[in-house]
Symmetry: C2
Subunit: 800 residues, 2 copies
């Protein structure tokens, strides 16, 4: 499958995105959906970071005209939810963070629901709180949770998630190293900041089944969690998840969020569909961001600059509860163990409860934090060993078909090529080490590119229905959060089946109808869907050609004799129809069937729609239409107990190089040049791949320079887009995306996944460039002008 | 397939209807659906029965706040629509009936649209009109259409639809007959009077594709017509038809109605979704009813009472335009040629344009009119030959496995059995011929029961998706108008697959996702769907059992060893797993897999969901899930040019017997007893079959006694449920439905279709009973008290 087809018609072409309705405001997002009898929900959040709830008085809210339900932990069953089952949808005993859901209202409109919230009175009794994960690890720290999910008393704030990986002998390697560097780095909370905020609509049908319109990027995972919730509520129904257009996820919609369980409770209590859509403020306050880490990294190399060992210890601020953020160390292990060839590796990550907001997945799933740490340490070690930073990376670069200490089996790997592209395009040798307030920096990455078996199944099912007008409907378990999958799926389906992209329509986002898929995460969607498309598409093609072999001779004969009847001068050609009768001789391309070995033969070429119609409308008894299906489960592995295993079918590599200018008077960093070289296996749609690279790189630059959820004693201080600064089009980062296509044998049409990785190396590349420009290394993200100016001043003070 | 399975678990059982949400008002019909940016449409109908349109002034309407579009024939392309292409959605040159659509408005709400209609001024110039089909056939009658669809001048009001059937030699047979009767009968306009009125929502997506939410019972046929309309408008898009819950069709939703084309025009002009839902008044005025017929029938028999010939001539009032009503003679041919054994048959039907409302299909599709005529003539001929009416029918009854003059191939046929049931349950011999104001009457019927190939394909496609929780989603091209198909499909799927009805969910009503189906008409849905279910279900079962054979031994071993680990005293039994490894040894029933030959073996019995989950969650590379599909095209035939052919795989028979009491002072008819004996092949769900019999019989009684669209010079005078009298629950007709189950070999589980026929024989049975009671035969439906009283008085006057 990985072989490059020499004559592809649609794959590899930059088709414009086909979901154009988004551009003109005619796409229907969750915001736009209205159901009969629908109510609107609002949630009351905690006013304290850590407190006992003494009482909740909802009596006034209940009496407000238009209010249909007021729920608190006291009038709904106590059902644990979340990755570790460490919370309930509505909090009863105590609140542990400012985003704790204390009460919820369903009313006839949003304003009424909002007004009802104001009428709810909560009495709190404050408890001592802890906001610093290192403080929280101390024996006398206040306990965020007195009991674990099973009711056993807890003695500390550590999560029962022992993330460890060890390969080789780090201690021995350290002893034999020529150069060793050690440092400590930290990152901030950043928010996914999707254009589409969180929201959903829950309703129960008359049989007690839940229909949940969700913005999730894992519809079947969401369904499982909702099913479990129903079961734990003592309800018999099962759930069906429908996903409308979604305005971005970037991981924020990976877990079933608390508001979703609350919607279920409200729908159950009221018997009506209940909707919520977060305001931007609610989105910042009550949807879980990327977690901050504090990392200690130690690396060594020999006299030739070859890495000898890497030892990384991380502390993750888990916040008050646990979502997927706590599992990101499983992905951090990938760069820790396998970014560059390093024989001896040790990694440990500790997740700690605090009274802060809690964290979730975000694009790259831990890789941005880990790569931030590793790639600065790489620069430090290069400097220590006197080797140029790019040269040092090339010495240690990953190579094709190696097996890493984590047992990742690397296939194609153009890492050195990517580094060379950066070197060349940045004019590295001239720009490096100039110390003129301008500098260049580099960072590489590797990421899963061929799925990621984080669940027992990494599969996707697909059904293709072909109608007698030659239209192909693809029913797939996947979902789209805005990444443009519709376009590339249509390209791949057209290529695989022989139809055209405009003949294809996609149906997804309904767990009842669509076959199973593990979800659109881990940059897996195009890769896994592509394989499913190839399997089902081959079946479609075979079935269509079978019909062609059966009907074409008759159809052609009929057309010729009709023409002869109409035109007495028409000479009916003598044709040998026998080659047509064998499926193997036929080819279907661009919605036409013709002889494989004689494509120029116009007599033997028919539009596929005509053949399908003929096969359908036989007249009696034996009409046929074409449906095909496939279930593709990739040959990747789950991590074993040691944290090892070949998680993905392939890995994607790349290097970002950046040239910055630092204004030493203001601390402001300007990006002058940005080269993003990416191994994508094969670009199904180069324009869309570049779109992913642009978008993720801008996100990575925001991570480096501007984005930060600021908290004060657990309270988010900047829940709006004025104070939380994402980079936008007007920041004009001059990104030069370079696509490297080694044609991945394990990939569909040679492709690897590319959704996440471009946001991974930006921060270290920028920080490395700043260091090159002004000799100052900022070890704590983001690199704000304030921090940088202070560091520059300190450096200058020292130098004087 | 027709063989009766001796141990069926679900088929043949009276499961309660599963679409319970309708009962408590939580089902969403077209009325309930709201889309973002949706506008509301209203249509202005003609104020004249026949007139030239001199001008339409929409200027004031256009200026009304909230109006988004005002369309007339003058500002939209002139595109012909309808079965014969004899009209345009909005009329420009002239109006030909009071329901002619003259203008349409889309506005922000219904009230605004309604107000805008009042502001439209139309100037008419009256033309002479014709309301009687016999008048309309005269050479000097005003022409309803001056030109045909191709623009050729027309010379008369006859439709170019020559409905003729001839078999044997009627003239010769007449000469040799012992008894001959001849009479003339007529029927009225009746309305389908669905609980759910007509309505729809049209919208265009950004690519110019039409999404049409429709109440149609032929989604794919509707799609074809909409596609053609788009094409004729010069638009490139294609259409997708979605059907929500529908509140009945009875044929009224068979054709794409004019308001639907108007919705498309409004959606196209405004760029917004546009909705219309008819009021009850609009439904009566602007949705096409069952057409009236004037029939001359002549029949003869020999001295033994054996039918010698039948000659029927019909005139159908087509109204001003042509819909499917004009094609009902194709179905009239069935009873005309084949109800009872009659060797010589002649049939001719003439459809005539008038300035009346035009007609559409209705339950039975011409059969009620034809049977009304035939079954009165049968009584007249029985009387003429001095043979009891039931005896006469038994002499001539259809018999199994005969071929009729129309080339229908009858299979199972319990017609005599049905007549005997009526005879016995009505206590016929005692009640007949008493002339005490009470009387009994009988009528039989035959109808298609195994599909009806009215289109080149009579097929249905189906897809079954099984998930790892053991749930089966059935994606079918069929649709439900309220007949309860959800319930029986679930029963049949459970039976065919081995799962349970509660494991099954149905997805239908989306032409994009569902595989093709010709539509839910001609009593074909259960029959054709059942076959598709059997085909796909067998494939599902085989695939599931393949997985079971692969995984069960390992699963059972694992469970046993786990138990042994937990309980040291547990003795692991010595089991021979080899029988489990062969799919052929396994059986799946009631969602459990077990050994076919050893069903009591508890070790070798597992819930199917557990096996499916195991097969899905293999861990790496080879997870599997089950999808199966089928496309069932029955072996029935289209009618040939002579109107002959085996239209259906089988035919359903029955007899209705009724005892009436006539109040000779008031003319009021009371039904004292009503026996409805029906050959259903096999009842998939006896309760639902009885529901169909109840409902259709009540409809038939209304046809006989109360229902009539009254017109005055082409204007409908009773467009409301106060003046148009349907029978309701409070009329308490004491129906005794009797199900006869010959187990049809061509039917799925032995079933025949049963949606329509119970409304067929009611009217003649009642009229025959009235004749038996008071010696008066009413030849024109309905038998109103006025008509009956008048006839009784006339009879008495004659007798005196």
């Amino acid at each position: 499958m990985g072989e490059r087809l020499m004559d592809e018609l649609f794959v590899g072409k930059s088709f414009a995105r086909m979901d154009k309705d988004k551009v003109i405001g005619r796409a229907n997002f969750i915001n736009d959906i209205t159901l009969p009898r629908m109510l609107h929900a609002k949630i009351l959040y905690s006013a304290r970071p850590h407190a006992r709830i003494k009482s909740i008085d909802t009596s006034k809210a209940e009496k407000l005209m238009g209010v249909r339900a007021v729920l608190t932990g006291f009038n709904v069953p106590e059902v644990k939810v979340g990755f570790l089952g460490d919370q309930t949808p509505l909090k009863k005993d105590k609140v542990r963070q400012f985003r704790d859901e204390v009460a919820a209202v369903a009313a006839i409109d949003e304003d009424t629901a909002e007004e009802a919230l104001d009428l709810i009175k909560v009495e709190y009794e404050d408890l001592p709180a802890v906001y610093d994960p290192i403080e929280a690890m101390k024996p006398d720290a206040p306990l965020v949770h007195e009991f674990d999910a099973r009711g056993k008393p807890r003695r500390n704030n550590l999560l029962p998630l022992p993330w460890k990986l060890e390969a080789g002998d780090v201690r021995k390697a350290r002893e034999s190293s020529k150069y060793v560097v050690k440092d400590r780095f930290s990152t901030q909370w950043v928010h996914q900041t999707c254009m589409g905020t969180s929201g959903g609509i829950a309703e129960f049908d008359v049989n007690g089944n839940l229909i949940f319109r969700s913005v999730t990027n894992v519809p079947f995972g969401g369904k499982d969690r909702l099913d479990m919730f129903l079961k734990n509520l003592g309800l018999k129904g099962r759930s069906r998840v429908l996903t409308p257009y979604v305005g971005g996820s970037f991981g924020s919609k990976l877990d079933t969020d608390i508001y979703e369980f609350i919607l279920v409770l409200l729908a159950w209590k009221t018997g009506c569909p209940v909707k919520i859509v977060f305001s931007r403020k609610e989105e910042f306050l009550a949807s879980p961001p990327r977690q901050p880490v504090i990392a200690t990294v130690e690396q060594g190399c020999d006299s030739n600059g070859r890495l000898t060992f890497r030892n990384i210890d991380m502390i993750l601020d888990n916040g008050a509860y646990t979502s997927w953020g706590a599992t990101t160390p499983s992905v951090m292990m990938i760069p820790v163990s396998s970014l560059y060839r390093v024989p001896n590796v040790k990694f440990q990550a500790t997740c700690v409860y605090t009274n802060n907001i809690y964290a979730q997945a975000m694009r790259g799933y831990g890789n941005p934090q880990a790569t931030f740490v590793i790639e600065q340490s790489m620069d430090q070690l290069a400097e220590a060993s006197g080797i140029d930073a790019i040269e040092f990376r090339k010495i240690n670069a990953n190579v094709p078909y190696e097996k890493t200490p984590m047992d990742l089996k690397i296939t194609t790997c153009p890492m050195s090529e990517c580094l060379e592209i950066v070197e060349k395009r940045l004019n590295w040798s001239e720009k490096r080490n100039q110390k003129t307030s301008r500098g260049v920096g580099v960072a590489s990455f590797l990421h899963v590119g061929g799925g990621a078996r984080v669940y027992l199944s990494d599969a996707q099912g697909i059904i293709m229905k072909v109608d007698d007008e030659g239209k192909v409907t693809v029913i797939t378990g996947g979902t789209d959060q805005g990444q443009g999958s519709e376009t590339i799926i249509k390209q791949m389906v057209a290529e695989a089946t022989g139809f055209r992209p405009e003949d294809v329509s996609i149906f997804q986002g309904d767990t009842e109808v669509c076959p199973w898929d593990v979800g659109t995460h881990a940059s897996r969607h195009a890769f896994i869907t592509g394989h499913a498309v190839l399997l089902a598409g081959a079946d479609v093609k075979r079935k269509v050609l079978d019909l062609a072999a059966r009907w074409m001779p008759e159809m052609i004969r009929f057309d010729l004799s009709k023409r002869a009847r109409k035109d007495p001068n028409f000479q009916v050609p003598l044709l040998d129809f026998s080659p047509l009768m064998d499926t193997n001789n036929l080819e279907l391309r661009n919605a036409e069937v013709f002889l494989k070995d004689d494509p120029e033969n116009k007599h033997f070429r028919l539009p596929v729609a005509k053949i399908l119609r003929r096969a359908h409308l036989v007249g009696t008894g034996k009409g046929e239409m074409v449906v095909a299906e496939a279930f593709y489960d990739p040959p990747n592995e789950m991590l074993n107990r040691e944290g090892k295993g070949n998680l993905s079918c392939c890995y994607t590599f790349g290097a970002h190089g950046v040239e910055v200018e630092v204004d030493e008077e203001t601390g402001l960093v300007t990006i002058l040049n940005y080269v993003a070289a990416h191994d994508v296996g094969r670009a199904i749609n180069p324009m869309l791949v570049k779109g992913q690279i642009y978008g993720a790189t801008v996100m990575g630059c925001g991570y480096a320079l501007t984005e930060e959820i600021q908290t004060n004693h657990g309270r988010v201080m900047n829940p709006n887009l004025l104070d939380y600064k994402i980079l936008t089009a007007k920041d004009k980062i001059p990104i030069d995306p370079v696509i490297v296509e080694p044609i991945e044998p394990s990939g569909p049409f040679g492709a690897k996944g590319i959704g996440e990785p471009a946001c991974v190396p930006s921060a270290p590349a920028i920080v490395n460039a700043i260091y090159d420009a002004v000799g100052v290394r900022i070890k704590d993200l983001p690199v704000t002008p304030e921090k940088l100016l202070k560091a520059i001043k300190e450096k200058k003070a020292k130098e004087q």
